[in-house]
């Protein structure tokens, strides 16, 4: 009897250990690629990184030096443009869905947003190409910003909807009870309360579209020069990395690594800052 019991316990402990081991190794296997990718990008990229990389234009083939200054600025301009497209539609759409989207129309819009978010980004790039490049007859930063903006819409919409829904209805009613017009209650009280969380979602979405290459290839295209005009082709980090990486020149390959490291750092920076910030979000 006694013996049986200790055996039972021993067996149970063994199963527990095996289970824990499996979970742990699964986690480790999942982390390994992340560490490898980050480590590899860091090692390869760091050596090619210098101050000029951030400030100078790309150097012609064979010439040493040069940098990605224009592409870094270009990425920020294009992302800025995509925010102009994606944020108003996403935010107002999300507010609408949260407050008035219970019916059939709401269901349809929610469904459309989900479908849109599952469309490959290259297809959205083609859409922007047909709409803004083919018709205007040249590549432009605007077309690139538009493509990325469309990619942002569904995530921003759904984030906004979820967070606006989390604001207690009592706050909405308290606002109305003060004789504040409904649209002001929605913007200045309900949306304002949800804003910290929505901002987190927006920044994560921005970090994601920063890494998009495909939709930019045939919209913003690329440029070897400083360009601040949004109706002209514009360089971006991702497209520049792509061009450098597939080139046969060792110097350019190294620059691709440096560009990758820069991009990863920016995106990682945004994600970490935002996650830290978002922990302080709470509702009254």
């Amino acid at each position: 009897m006694e013996n049986n019991w200790t055996q039972e316990v021993r067996k149970r402990k063994l199963i527990e250990k095996i289970f824990l081991g499996t979970v742990l190794s699964g986690t480790l296997i999942a982390i390994v690629p992340l560490v490898l990718v980050l480590g590899y990008v860091f090692i390869k990229g760091f050596s090619a990184l210098d101050f000029n990389f951030f400030t100078q234009l790309p150097a012609p083939v064979g010439e040493p030096g040069g940098g990605m200054g224009n592409a870094i600025v270009g990425t920020f301009i294009i992302v800025g443009l995509s925010c102009l497209v994606g944020l108003p539609i996403g935010i107002f759409g999300g507010i609408w869905l949260a407050l008035y989207g219970q019916g059939k129309r709401g269901f349809f819009i929610r469904y459309a947003a989900d479908v849109l978010s599952s469309i490959p980004s290259i297809v959205i790039g083609i859409f922007a190409y047909v709409l803004l490049v083919a018709t205007l007859k040249h590549f432009s930063a605007l077309a690139g910003g538009f493509a990325l903006g469309v990619i942002m819409i569904p995530t921003v919409t759904r984030t906004t909807e979820e967070l606006v829904k989390m604001v207690p209805r009592t706050l909405y009613e308290a606002g109305l009870a003060l004789g504040i017009p409904e649209w002001k209650v929605i913007l200045k009280i309900v949306f304002r309360t949800a804003w910290a969380g929505i901002f987190t979602g927006i920044m994560l979405s921005v970090a994601r579209i920063m890494g998009e290459t495909a939709p930019l290839l045939f919209t913003a295209f690329n440029s070897m020069y400083w360009n601040f005009r949004i109706d002209e082709p514009m360089a971006s980090m991702t497209v520049q990395i792509y061009n450098y990486a597939i080139s046969p020149f060792a110097d350019w390959n190294a620059k691709a690594w440096a560009g990758s490291l820069t991009l990863v750092m920016i995106v990682l920076g945004i994600t970490i800052v935002v996650r830290k910030f978002s922990r302080r979000v709470s509702y009254g």
Partner: protein
């Protein structure tokens, strides 16, 4: 002023009372579920009217109709008439809902300070977000209102801290201050003390006594001692119907209806 009703109170020396709001055949629904049945009541100016009754009998639904918050719930319906100074509040031709809510303020059961606003901004919210320029300097208005709500001494050094950083009782007085800031004529209080300790409750009751001189007050309460202490008139609700409406002392000492008597003597249920 065709709907001004004069009523002579028997206990006191001939006092003329003016009806501020009068409710006729008010019924209300949530979807198919009827929550109020043909309510008729007069709410007298510069008086406190208490609404008592067991949980779920429609007290909140009733006062939420007086500022038309009930209709904002999807599927909610209402029929009947509510007059404010003789004008039907449901009549789209004469009364718009934003103006109505500025004349009929409300304080909810749970304190609802706006979490993203400071104490100061909470008090000023109704003034600032309405869009009209305030009559005086905002700082002075806020100070004066907070004094009126008996909160000034406790918050004068933390005016720029977030509203929710106050204690529950302070938050509730902040919400009262916020409601007073829009200078309403009628104040609806939905169980304003239910989450408060006896000291905070006493402060709010004292406040109600003071406010009565300038406002018409309707207070929902579960606490019969409170109704007896603060109210001039009391209405007893049961299962969505108004059973009895009388001078408070009569409701508690000589109720006409057996059900009222059972409730106020605690024999209910």
């Amino acid at each position: 002023m065709d709907r001004v009703i004069e009523k002579v109170k028997k206990e006191e020396k001939m006092v003329i009372e003016r009806s501020k709001m009068s409710v006729e055949n008010l019924s209300a629904w949530f979807g198919d579920k009827q929550a109020l049945f043909n309510i008729n009541i007069e709410l007298f100016e510069n008086k406190v009217t208490a609404i008592i009754g067991p949980s779920g009998c429609g007290k909140s639904t009733f006062i939420r109709n007086l500022n038309r918050l009930h209709e904002t719930i999807s599927g909610a319906k209402v029929s009947g008439k509510v007059y404010l100074d003789g004008r039907d509040i449901f009549d789209h031709n004469c009364c718009d809902v934003v103006t109505l809510r500025r004349r009929v303020g409300m304080v909810f059961q749970k304190p609802t300070p706006f979490p993203t606003m400071t104490i100061y901004e909470n008090v000023a919210a109704g003034i600032k977000l309405y869009g009209k320029k305030p009559k005086g300097k905002l700082d002075q208005i806020v100070e004066q209102i907070l004094k009126q709500a008996a909160l000034w001494d406790e918050v004068k050094d933390v005016l720029y801290k977030p509203g929710p950083s106050l204690s529950g009782g302070q938050q509730q007085r902040l919400c009262i201050a916020r409601a007073l800031a829009i200078e309403p004529e009628v104040i609806l209080l939905d169980e304003p003390c239910s989450a408060l300790d006896p000291i905070s409750t006493a402060k709010i009751e004292e406040l109600i006594h003071k406010l009565k001189q300038n406002y018409t007050i309707i207070i929902v309460t579960h606490n019969m001692q409170q109704a007896a202490r603060v109210a001039d008139y009391t209405a007893f609700f049961l299962l969505g119907e108004m059973i009895e409406f009388e001078v408070t002392s009569k409701i508690f000492t000589a109720p006409q209806d057996k059900r009222t008597e059972d409730y106020v003597t605690g024999r209910f249920g």
